[in-house]
Symmetry: C2
Subunit: 473 residues, 2 copies
Amino acid sequence: MTPTPSIAERLNVDIDRIHELADRLLPFYTDIQPGGSLADERLNGYLNELTRTLHELHPADMAAVLESLPLQERVLAWKLAAPEDDGDVLLEVSDAVRETLIESMGNQELLAAVEDMDADDLAELADDLPHQVIAEVLQTRDEEERAQVQAAMSFADDQVGAIMDFELLSIRADVTCEVVLRYLRRFDSLPDHTDKIFVVDDHDILQGVLPIRRLLIADPDELVEHIMARDVVRFHPEDDTEEAAQAFERYDLVTAPVIDADGKLIGRLTVDEMVDVIREETEADMLNMAGLQEEEDLFAPVFDSVKNRWMWLAINLCTAFLASRVIGAFEGSIEKIVALAALMPIVAGIGGNSGNQTITMIVRAMAMGQLTGSQAIHLLKKEVSVALVNGLIWGGVMGLVAWLLYDSPGIGLVMVAAMTLNLLLAATVGVLIPVIMDKCGRDPALGSSVLITAVTDSGGFLIFLGLATVFLL
Amino acid sequence: MTPTPSIAERLNVDIDRIHELADRLLPFYTDIQPGGSLADERLNGYLNELTRTLHELHPADMAAVLESLPLQERVLAWKLAAPEDDGDVLLEVSDAVRETLIESMGNQELLAAVEDMDADDLAELADDLPHQVIAEVLQTRDEEERAQVQAAMSFADDQVGAIMDFELLSIRADVTCEVVLRYLRRFDSLPDHTDKIFVVDDHDILQGVLPIRRLLIADPDELVEHIMARDVVRFHPEDDTEEAAQAFERYDLVTAPVIDADGKLIGRLTVDEMVDVIREETEADMLNMAGLQEEEDLFAPVFDSVKNRWMWLAINLCTAFLASRVIGAFEGSIEKIVALAALMPIVAGIGGNSGNQTITMIVRAMAMGQLTGSQAIHLLKKEVSVALVNGLIWGGVMGLVAWLLYDSPGIGLVMVAAMTLNLLLAATVGVLIPVIMDKCGRDPALGSSVLITAVTDSGGFLIFLGLATVFLL
């Protein structure tokens, strides 16, 4: 084992080379068949290198490569990929990219890719697969697995039931550790991430868990019920996945049982799924704040991208139009003091920036479960104080600049006052928007950036032009 | 085991009640001692309830509670908390909150909190602890542990060496599984998250790993070298933690070995630390994009908050001033057509919004390692196409509105052209800023939102007022 370059380095090299090879081979797309060859020797060399490189990749790396390739190259690489990994790759890629891959596959290929899949994985893909493929693959399963797939599909994406795993080990409490060890040795392989064995009674009601760490150090004659843990973090299939992920994070879990309303063990959650939930959750917040509806395939067709972004752009246009009408109401003042037109974006801009700082901090705290309603008033006080300090400092600076620039102390004073007031407005609304969204059961991240900017723009123009009209004309 | 409310629900109830109790007890802060009582019977009831509630909390829950309490209440709750959990709570809270807790503790209390800590945990806290405390606690450790603490402290926060764990199990390759199982049984407890045992030679050089899952199903007479995995994801202490976290995510790891340049096993990474890295990384991106320098204690003193935010506000003011000067250059045009002043923020606003959508998507893709330099040109083409479509649609709408509003087809046409051009500018710069930042080795998220808004503001004003001056005057 020689020291190897870091994983990320190795992967980036692969992506660039794959991109290069795919780019060169793209003009001959129709001549290329998996396992086939090209007449031109140089091109055939490229084809062999590309195929070999792709076949060496771990399915998760293959997924990353596919996500970072432009559409046509992606389809070519997918065609050349090792078919035995197809199912794993489909499970690893993002939803948007998965669609493009499935579209490029025939029903027979899809069937081959999913036929050996576990029930929970099958359920995850089911929405994206053609009806016929699902129907055919379900026919090959036994009653229990069909029920599992259907159960998993009946939950929403953000419910524990949709991502739980049915593969698990369970034992009775009244056996010895020796018996458990012998029982385990009868398996060909144990489920991934097995860090604990679930202890159930005759009716499958969860009694506790036996951590493998305890099993390994226990006296072989010890009874399971004497060493099992009874106070166990457990979930219901209706639970929210984000809350489950927070519990995993907080209590450093690797797996946890899922039970139904009667306490019956029906599945388990594993940390690898929870890591994905955490990643997706924080990213969704980030995308939502910026006004993107969902995660987007980097190389999505133009029309798909337009669709993903149009709504917040439209809302932004409406709010911008409102701000424009606020200015329109003061056209008389601007005609008299044209300097106002040049200064007003400064007032609006600093409010937007400061409001975004406040709202980002709060959205984050809410996502972490750090903020409940009762502290909102404390937070508001603090944010207003920060805004006051910033307003006096930066308003003072800009007021001075405006005074010198337009040789008018009046304009300077109006700047100070308008900037301070708009920062106070930004702080207040920056706290209230997410708190109210949350109270209404909405996601506080959703378009919050667009909303706060709308308020600080219109508000900033109104405050500044209003003050100027009253005091300077 | 009766069905319990979901974990997040239970926790929120606790926080609200703790907040209420702490708020009532706060006026009597100086009279309150841990284990003491208050003369007033009602108040004493509150005190007992608060103390009991706090003592029942898991350290990770206690950390969450402390993070969500205003400063004074936090100090009170911390004073009443179970001292035996102090060390664990300090490790769980965010950096900003940790400072406030340590400040409220005496050296003796701190010493008691950290004296039983593992070397890696001690190293994590070391920067925040008073020198004297560190010196004293290190004196109680043996040579090896002192070396471990110092080694861990010598790495930067974003290096694997700073978060690796020294507690691990290692065995030789030439023993049987039976021997391994007997060896394990001699421990009082196994390290957390033990999903594999590391296999080393006589010089501690890593040979492979023995997954517990394989050990449990193996024939007891089988030699470790026959069933161990040799192709193992491993890390060096200098590796970047974010890349390590990506590898954990990609390959669904629970633990992984850390080796030095000679291949010698020196520590291990565990998935619970990696989950924290993933959470912190995506959050740092979100905060950085909004122009916050670092994670902020929700209830930080006003001055600390001002310090955390001033830099991007100052940069924003400079760019806003620049935009203001662009408008200033066209004061003559605005005096003649005052409608321009009202319409120009629409052009700037949609550019900013659209640019933020583009940049957010790209920052995210870069964080996931999906985007390498060679695809930038493809991405640019796509984003420019999206901008063109959006420009013609939304520019068309606003052009029509402007025409009707000001009864001037000229103004309408200038709106269409300016909005389209500003969207094209936003798309181009939205791709280029993160790509260039990344090429320069900078974090592409850093202030990207402020930068793109600066470009689309000044650019939007210039394009709109420039076109109007040329075509309408």
